[in-house]
């Protein structure tokens, strides 16, 4: 099995989008996600020696970020006091309603959908990792940031026809990768 090595100078370029998407759906606040990621990078640097090379850099960073997210919720919870869970069906006013309330709404799939969508996002980013770095950056800017063709061309110093060739290759590669890993 190949051992993986850490290269902190490339962390931001390679993993920041991945970590950011992972964090933002879990904390739902851009600022907090931002702080958590910067803490993750620093923690990663400080415990570099503990990295054994068995997992990939990304998996390792994600596991640190997971800890940071848990810590964040612990902290906010201890500030607010214990989370309250109240189940109270002996209420005489609501008598008779409880059975209906407990039945799952067959049309309400939002939570599950959300989760699936998050996983899908991570799968897309993982697939983008496998294609040429520059192509992935161009594709992200064009597709996810929805930038104008002109802006992208200017940023990367390429011609529009060049851009469309890159987008085409990226889309084909991404579709093939998702087909393999997602469906």
């Amino acid at each position: 099995m190949p051992t993986h090595k850490l290269d902190p100078t490339k962390w931001v370029d390679k993993y920041s989008d991945y970590l950011f998407n992972y964090a933002i759906v879990r904390v739902n606040d851009r600022e907090v996600a931002n702080d958590l990621i910067s803490e993750t990078f620093l923690a990663g640097l400080n415990s570099k020696e503990n990295f054994e090379g068995r997992a990939t850099e990304r998996t390792w960073l994600i596991s640190i970020l997971k800890r940071k997210i848990i810590d964040y919720y612990r902290k906010t919870n201890s500030i607010k006091g214990q989370a309250e869970v109240r189940i109270n069906y002996s209420d005489s006013e609501n008598d008779g309603d409880w059975l209906e309330e407990q039945v799952a709404d067959a049309f309400d799939r939002t939570a599950e959908d959300e989760m699936e969508n998050t996983e899908l996002g991570m799968a897309i980013l993982e697939c983008l990792d496998q294609i040429n770095e520059k192509h992935a950056a161009i594709f992200k800017m064009k597709t996810i940031d929805e930038a104008d063709t002109e802006a992208v061309c200017k940023e990367f110093n390429i011609s529009p026809s060049n851009l469309w060739v890159i987008i085409h290759r990226a889309r084909t590669a991404l579709a093939a990768c998702l087909e393999k890993n997602w469906f």
């Binding site: 902190p8 931001v12 920041s16 950011f20 910067s38 064009k142 063709t149 889309r171």
Partner: protein, 87 residues
């Protein structure tokens, strides 16, 4: 993909137009030509359906990217920390 010519567009042009359509950047004329081509070309029809599926998936995934400033701030922090460690 076979490079067959149907009507005005060949396959590569149709694919290119299909890619552009995913970003709403193809003209009406291009779209018409592409549709004409699609009637006769099965591989391109497959490509188009895959391509639009990909667009839907990306939309659904609600992906976000971090801004350049955020990236720069992180990069600076990492570099500072590394310099501190080395010294």
């Amino acid at each position: 993909m076979p490079k067959t010519k149907f009507f005005i567009f060949d396959c590569s042009k149709a694919e290119n137009c299909c890619d552009k359509s995913q970003y709403n950047e193809s003209s009406i004329r291009e779209k018409m030509c592409m549709l004409m081509h699609l009637i006769f070309c099965k591989p391109c029809r497959n490509y188009t359906s895959k391509n639009s599926k990909l667009t839907r998936l990306i939309k659904k995934s609600n992906l976000r990217t971090c801004s350049e400033e955020e990236k720069k701030a992180w990069q600076n922090k990492i570099e500072k920390e590394m310099a501190k460690k080395e010294s």
